[in-house]
């Protein structure tokens, strides 16, 4: 079996080939919004909020930088950066597996990461998830080592990487806060005095966030450290209509009459009644607060719907489809990836890999995943995303942790009790795939016929 380094090289190469095969794809939904923000920043010198939310600034900034350095080709330069940075993700996956599981798990983890097409395919897309995990995973590795030897350099670098990751995705802020709490608790549990080392980590996390928070204090009167997306996510996710972002853009391309009525399995489907409209407001923060209030009022009046729809959201997240497959279905790829000779094997393999990873990942999480805070804190944070909304893209940052868990499964002999837990978790995951089967099958069918 190739070494970890070789697998990382293979993984980056696969992503580079996919990016070449994808070509300069048409922009879809948020991809276009990020490009718009970057273009506007380059032109007018400021990043504005998006009226409905304020995204963390790093990804729009890279778009702006791309436009400044490469003019209209800037977007594609950013995709190339994502391919290169994926090597850091591969390294992070293998290193965490080595540290948190056992040395032989590192090769398995690197191998699984390298060939996992749904994850690789995201490097060809304009969402910040690829770069987010490329920062988070090395940050967690350094944090692990830094807490062991109290190396100030490692803790400083870990804090900076994790802090910068929160400038890419808001969930990075939640993980940062959890990581800071973990570092302090870890120090206390060891019986050591809370000295400068954990404080160094906490402040290193805060350092990259501080200028952005200060800027937001000036703009909004509130030191927003990452983004303001909760209200909009609650509007989308705590409402009477089930919005599945994997099939919505595809559905919208069909004429209203004759659109398939896709819904989760009956016990988890919502009727679409008793919904609430997006409220107005003069400023972003007023609008966000109004949406939060609307969501909590809806949830209070519809607790049953809220609970049932959480199952549907979780099913959306683990459904064995992905945005690269959706891009094929939408006909967004102008390159060879749209050719049936390539797209069909890609769709088949990506679907199989996604389903296997969900099943084995759940089994591994329930039986033999590493019992370490630095594994479970981010994993739990990513698994809790369907509390708000659900779509397959939310699985992107979770995938490296599922891979690490599967690497543990492949290198651990399970006793009867653990085997039972693994089987139950696998069966529950199969049930979740069934909840979203109609929608998943339709997306895959659309992608299969495209090209």
């Amino acid at each position: 079996m190739p070494t970890v380094r070789a697998w990382i090289l293979i993984g980056v190469s696969i992503r580079a080939v996919l990016a070449i095969l994808a070509g300069q794809a048409e922009l879809q939904s948020d991809e276009a919004h990020y490009a718009w923000l970057g273009l506007s920043w380059e032109r007018f010198g400021f990043l504005s909020d998006s009226q409905r939310f304020l995204w963390p600034p790093a990804y729009p900034y890279l778009h702006k930088l791309g436009f400044q350095l490469f003019q209209e080709e800037g977007i594609w330069a950013l995709r190339s950066l994502q391919v290169l940075a994926s090597g850091l993700t591969g390294w992070g996956v293998a290193s965490l597996a080595r540290r948190l599981v056992r040395p032989e798990a590192a090769r398995w983890a690197a191998c699984l990461w390298a060939v996992h097409l749904p994850l690789a395919g995201y490097c060809t897309l304009g969402w910040p998830d690829s770069l987010f995990v490329a920062l988070l995973l090395p940050g967690l590795c350094l944090l692990h080592d830094g807490t062991l030897d109290e190396s100030p350099k490692r803790l400083l670098l870990a804090g900076l990487l994790i802090g910068v990751s929160a400038l890419f995705k808001e969930i990075g802020l939640h993980i940062s806060i959890l990581a800071i709490c973990w570092v302090f608790l870890h120090t206390i549990r060891r019986g050591a005095a809370v000295g400068p080392a954990p404080l160094t980590f906490a402040l290193a996390v805060a350092l990259p966030l501080a200028p952005w928070a200060a800027r937001n204090l000036q703009h909004y009167g509130k030191p927003i450290p990452s983004g303001v997306t909760l209200g909009e996510n609650l509007y989308q996710g705590w409402n009477s209509k089930d919005r599945n972002f994997d099939h919505l853009p595809l559905l919208r391309r069909h004429p209203t009459e004759g659109r398939p009525a896709l819904a989760p399995a009956a016990p988890f489907a919502l009727t679409g009644e008793r919904g609430w409209d997006r409220p107005g407001g003069l400023t972003l923060l007023e609008r966000d607060a109004a949406k939060r209030q609307g969501a909590f009022e809806w949830a209070g009046a519809n607790l049953g719907d809220l609970a049932r729809s959480r199952v549907a959201k979780l099913a959306h997240m683990i459904a064995p489809t992905s945005f690269p497959v959706r891009h094929i279905a939408l006909g967004n790829y102008p390159g060879l990836l749209a050719d049936r000779a390539i797209s069909r094997p890609f769709i088949a393999l990506a679907t199989l890999q996604a389903a296997l990873l969900a099943l084995l990942g759940a089994a591994a999480l329930a039986s033999c995943a590493p019992r370490h805070g630095l594994f479970w804190l981010p994993t739990a944070a990513f698994l809790s995303q369907p509390l708000l909304v659900g779509m397959s893209r939310l699985r992107v940052p979770l995938t490296p942790f599922l891979i690490i868990a599967v690497a543990a499964l492949l290198t651990t002999s399970l006793d009867a009790r653990r085997r039972r837990r693994a089987v139950i978790a696998g069966a529950l995951t199969l049930g979740l795939i069934w909840v979203d089967l109609e929608s998943t099958a339709w997306i895959l069918g659309e992608a299969w016929r495209a090209g």
Binding site: L27, F44, Q51, E72, P152, G195, A204, P211, A213, Y220
Partner: protein, 135 residues
């Protein structure tokens, strides 16, 4: 000093660095921002939008639409004016922008904004770059 060489100086220095950006982070007054905007500082627009939304009026938009600075004229089409100025008013104002190339470019900001379902396309970006004035 701890056995590993970590001293309190590192967190202290980091704390000071974290605090430094906040020292000058005060919300500027409406008058100061309007002055900045009129003198060509586009960043005053999102500040006005967030901190003094009532200052963004149709009259101000009309004034900027005739500004000698091309970039300020183009800024009239930015989504940061919404909802303080109605979209219909904004589109009406954009239709009067001169020269024609600027008007076409301005449409990218107004019609492909982040709340629009008609999002930015590759062709829009290519057309936008082709119409940029020399710097």
């Amino acid at each position: 000093m701890s056995p590993k060489g970590v001293n309190w100086g590192t967190p202290l220095a980091l704390a000071l660095l974290c605090l430094a950006p906040f020292l000058s982070a005060r919300q500027p007054s409406e008058e100061a921002l309007l002055q900045r905007l009129r003198s060509g500082d586009c960043e005053a627009l999102p500040l006005l939008s967030a901190a003094h939304p009532h200052a963004l009026t149709s009259a101000l938009m009309e004034e900027l639409a005739r500004h000698e600075d091309l970039r300020l004229r183009e800024l009239v089409a930015h989504q940061a004016w919404i909802p303080h100025v109605k979209l219909r008013e904004q589109l009406t104002r954009i239709a009067t922008l001169e020269p024609l190339e600027l008007r076409e470019r301005a449409k990218v900001w107004a019609e492909r904004r982040t709340t629009s379902r008609e999002t930015l396309t590759r062709a829009d970006i290519a057309a936008y770059w082709a119409s940029r004035e020399p710097r």
